[in-house]
């Protein structure tokens, strides 16, 4: 591999950064560019709940110090949104009309939180938690002992829920089929897990659908929720936690095969010679299950980043289908998701 290589990575998450690290190890002379829509360097989103009980800012969440990028000559192009990829010419276009040429492209653009169409109209009244800025917003508007209503409750939400409860806030969980996502919960386990949530201090509302979400009257709680069964509740913040959708719109028209995510074989190469994918954005072929499927969680995506980087630099290693990580209740009767641990 020569110094003329320009590795471009779309995505500044675990997968992209792990890949960048390995690319630099294996091809010291090359150019490495990470492109991200966000404005920050790679930070640990998993630790965002710390914002509720610590005086900290984004610098405390940085995975690598600033010098790491200088020392390793990794150019992180922040605030740059990829609009499309031209696989034939090996270039991609940024929203600000700059063209970037790559020798090899790794798509690690992750997923965006999922919001079903029927909730779309209430989007301005909902608060996300997938970014540092959205987390700060929640922290800033949530009064002491304030009330958070969570819609759905994927593992990310449940992680936040247990943190909020232990910090003295009230959490109300409105269940949907995405509750516990991406864990596959058997019907017989479900009641058990719901019970564990209630034990944790979370108020759980089951079997209802959202009818309306409104801005609360002045002087009252900020949000007013009406259910289809006529019940109404008030909250300071309403947050959807309904799982993730792969963020790869910009790959449309690139000629690369696409289902819900980018389709890759077990070496993480897409149907284009020079384009690879890793992380939440890709669906990997599983010979055992005879289908393309997603694997979430930092451990998985980190491994993907490593495999992609190594294969991009001449190795031939393969993703091995991992067994699903199960939600469980530990000996202290605590609900535990393996996703909640991270390094």
């Amino acid at each position: 591999m020569g110094s003329t290589q320009h590795y471009v990575i779309i995505g500044n998450g675990v997968a992209g950064n792990e890949a960048a690290f390995h690319l630099r190890q294996r091809d010291p002379e090359s150019r490495i560019t990470i492109i991200t829509a966000g404005r920050l360097l790679f930070y640990s989103r998993y630790e965002l709940p710390r914002l509720f009980h610590e005086n900290c800012d984004w610098r405390d969440f940085l995975v690598h110090p600033v010098e790491y990028y200088v020392d390793n000559r990794i150019n992180v192009r922040r605030n740059s949104f990829v609009t499309h990829v031209d696989a034939d010419r090996k270039k991609l276009m940024l929203a600000h009309k700059e063209e970037i040429h790559y020798s090899q492209l790794l798509v690690a653009s992750g997923g965006a939180s999922y919001l079903p169409a029927e909730l779309d109209e209430f989007a301005p009244l909902l608060n996300g938690f997938n970014l540092y800025s959205s987390a700060c917003k929640v922290r800033d508007i949530l009064p002491q002992k304030g009330k958070v209503v969570m819609l759905g409750g994927d593992v990310l939400g449940l992680d936040l829920a247990r943190n909020l409860v232990s910090d003295g806030y009230q959490v109300v969980l409105v269940t949907t089929e995405q509750t516990f996502w991406p864990h596959r919960v058997e019907s017989d386990e479900r009641a058990l897990f719901i019970g564990a949530l209630r034990d944790m201090g979370v108020e759980v509302i089951e079997g209802v659908k959202i009818e309306r979400i409104e801005q609360g009257a002045p002087g009252m709680s900020a949000r007013h929720i009406q259910f289809d069964n006529g019940r109404e509740i008030f909250a300071d913040v309403v947050m959807p936690f309904l799982g993730l959708l792969p963020a790869a719109d910009f790959m449309m028209g690139s000629g690369v095969d696409f289902e819900r995510g980018l389709l890759v074989s077990t070496n993480l190469r897409t149907t284009d010679q020079n384009i690879w994918a890793a992380g939440d954005v890709c669906q990997i072929w599983s010979p055992e299950e005879n289908q393309y499927r997603f694997y979430y969680g930092w451990k998985n995506v980190k491994k993907m980043g490593e495999i992609a980087a190594k294969n991009m630099t001449g190795e031939d290693i393969h993703w091995e289908t991992a067994t699903d990580q199960k939600l469980f209740i530990d000996k202290n009767r605590q609900l535990i998701s393996p996703y909640w641990e991270h390094d």
Partner: protein, 597 residues
């Protein structure tokens, strides 16, 4: 109360309104009650769209100099701004247009050049300008609105300044620009802040004085006008031209007269002529012009004619670097010309000082009957500072204009020997005081006389009378800052570099180094005694200045016998604070080890 100390940098081309937006920003901040120091850099070429940079430091208490690093960079032209990205500190931010009109190759957009610790703030700058004003001319106002919203600065002062700025262009333009500002302001205010650029509340204003923001040259003009300047003669030369330009507007309003002469020789000649005729007269120039003036300066010295010469230094020798700053005309100002021709030379160190020195120069010129040179430099001439101007005019008017002493029937002794070596003086038109001034050595009557003892006595008279200027009231001749008493490191400075020196001193003190600064404003006659006692107090002395030869150091060397360290730089830009600090550290180390020995 939280202290404010932020520095912004606007970078773009001459056509982008870069300097204009920097100007609105600093005026608005000054209006809001902050202290400002700012310095613009223009392209050397007049035509075209060369690079412009406007740097503005906003503080709660007046800062001494600009900072090496800026907290925020606004790019109005990426190709110009990209080389300046490294000047933005870690966790500082860069504001730029992220919706340009044409596509570009990799590397042409500034977002690709940010260092890892810097924060990008992209905005549809051109689009917003188009939408609100129907053109892209107001990109600068959009960027300004965005940054004001982002930093959460009140809109009020901006509205006023923008309104003032565009008023003469008609209300439609003024309103569309306000709309551009407000639209971008809202964008900024709703943008999630990630930087750590914090603005505290401004300091209260002192009573009995009014805060204004102006450049060194504008301060010179104010000083001239407050001192009652009657006549001005000048020949355009960067960076002094703006003094004449401003006076061309202001002076006639007060009944004064200004003439653009055919060259600097004529300018100083007319100044001397007007001074001889009894009015307050001045000229302004830069090194090349001063070089032409020194012969006439000598005539002013021997003829004992009051005159004020402002000289704003630029890079030399010869035509040198006309748009770069330097302090290399000190020898010329102090020594230039034929013979023993001592004159008064004042070098203000900041904008407020420029005002005081300008006004006091007229008092001194009249009181001691001599030409007075006020030595500035491009950096001081062009930089903006908020200054506290006294509400009461601090300058003495006509009272010291002349001291006639006429006795009937006796030839008038224009150059009479007196106790203070200053002779009585009449001006043309005065009865009984007829005399002829000459550049020849002369006797008390002004008649040519080259006898050796006459020349000796007259030389002594001309030098002795100037010593009184060292105690002239109402002006700082020299001043000591920082640690008092014995210190490890003393820094002796003059002119605009004193700003950087003081910043370096504060940093060194914060590091625990015992150090002290002495600024010398009067370079001729030199306050020898205070300089000597400063040397006595300092284990090590450093003299930083923006010239290659160490011209001030040479002056000092003739006054003290102790060794000292020179720091000479000729980068064409202000001296780096870090450079001075490094020397202070080194000397502090040396002082420590010799203390221990």
């Amino acid at each position: 109360m939280k202290e404010t100390d932020i520095q912004l940098m606007f970078c773009g081309s001459a056509g982008d309104g870069t300097i204009a937006v920097g100007d609105i920003f600093k005026r608005a901040m000054a209006k809001a009650g902050y202290k400002v120091i700012a310095f613009d850099i223009y392209p050397p070429e007049i035509r075209g769209f060369g690079k412009c940079i406007s740097r503005v430091r906003v503080t709660s208490r007046q800062a001494y100099s600009l900072k090496q690093e800026s907290d925020l960079l606004v790019s109005l032209n990426d190709s110009y701004a990209i080389p300046h990205v490294p000047e933005v500190r870690d966790f500082g931010s860069v504001i730029y247009d992220n919706a340009p009109i044409t596509s570009m190759a990799e590397g042409e957009h500034i977002s690709g050049h940010l260092l890892p610790g810097q924060l990008p703030y992209g905005l549809r700058i051109r689009e917003i300008s188009d939408q609100t004003t129907g053109g892209s001319k107001s990109k600068n106002i959009v960027a300004l609105g965005y940054l004001a919203g982002l930093l959460g600065i009140k809109q009020e002062p901006f509205h006023q300044i923008i309104g003032d700025k565009f008023r003469h262009k008609g209300s439609a333009i003024s309103e569309s620009n306000l709309l551009a500002f407000d639209t971008a302001y809202a964008e900024g205010a709703s943008t999630f802040r990630l930087d750590f650029i914090e603005l505290g509340a401004p300091e209260r204003q002192e009573i009995g004085s009014k805060v204004q923001m102006m450049t060194g040259n504008a301060a010179v003009v104010r000083g001239c006008l407050d001192a009652g300047l009657d006549c001005f003669f000048g020949y355009p030369i960067t960076p002094a031209t703006s003094i004449m330009e401003r006076l061309a507007t202001e002076l006639p309003r007060r009944g004064g007269r200004l003439l653009q002469t055919e060259d600097e020789i004529s300018a100083i000649a007319a100044t001397i002529g007007a001074g001889y005729a009894g009015v307050r007269a001045a000229t302004a120039t830069s090194g090349p012009g001063l070089a032409l003036m020194v012969e006439m300066l000598g005539l002013g010295v021997i003829g004992e004619v009051p005159a004020v010469i402002f000289c704003s230094q630029r890079g030399g020798p010869s035509t040198g670097m006309p748009t770069k700053t330097e302090q290399s005309d000190l020898h010329l100002a102090v020594y230039g010309g034929a013979g023993d021709a001592q004159r008064i030379v004042l070098a203000p160190t900041n904008v407020e000082g420029a005002y005081r020195c300008a006004g006091k120069a007229f008092e001194m010129a009249e009181k001691y009957q001599t030409p007075v040179i006020v030595l500035l430099d491009l950096y001081l001439s062009n930089r903006y500072e908020t200054v506290l101007l006294p509400r009461q005019n601090p300058f003495e008017a006509d009272s010291v204009k002349h001291r006639s002493n006429v006795e009937r029937g006796v030839p008038y002794k224009r150059f009479a020997f007196t106790d203070d070596s200053v002779s009585p003086r009449t001006i043309p038109g005065e009865e009984g005081g007829i005399h002829v001034i000459t550049g020849l050595e002369h006797n008390e009557l002004g008649r040519p006389n080259d006898q050796s003892d006459m020349h000796t006595r007259m030389s002594e008279k001309r030098h002795k009378k100037l010593l009184a200027a060292l105690d002239h009231p109402g002006i700082t001749i020299h001043k000591r800052f920082g640690d008092q008493g014995r210190v490890d490191v003393g820094i002796l400075g003059w002119g605009s570099t004193v700003g950087e020196i003081l910043e370096a001193m504060l940093m060194a003190q914060a590091e625990g180094i015992s150090c002290s600064v002495m600024k010398v404003v009067m370079l001729s006659p030199l306050p020898n005694e205070p300089i000597r006692s400063f040397f006595d107090d300092c284990a090590e002395v450093l003299i930083p200045e923006l010239n290659y030869e160490g011209q001030f150091a040479n002056l000092v060397a003739s006054a003290v016998s102790k060794p000292f360290t020179r720091l000479n730089r000729v980068p064409g830009v202000p001296m780096q604070v870090a450079d001075i600090l490094e020397q202070i550290r080194r000397l502090a180390g040396r002082a420590k080890s010799s203390n221990a020995a």
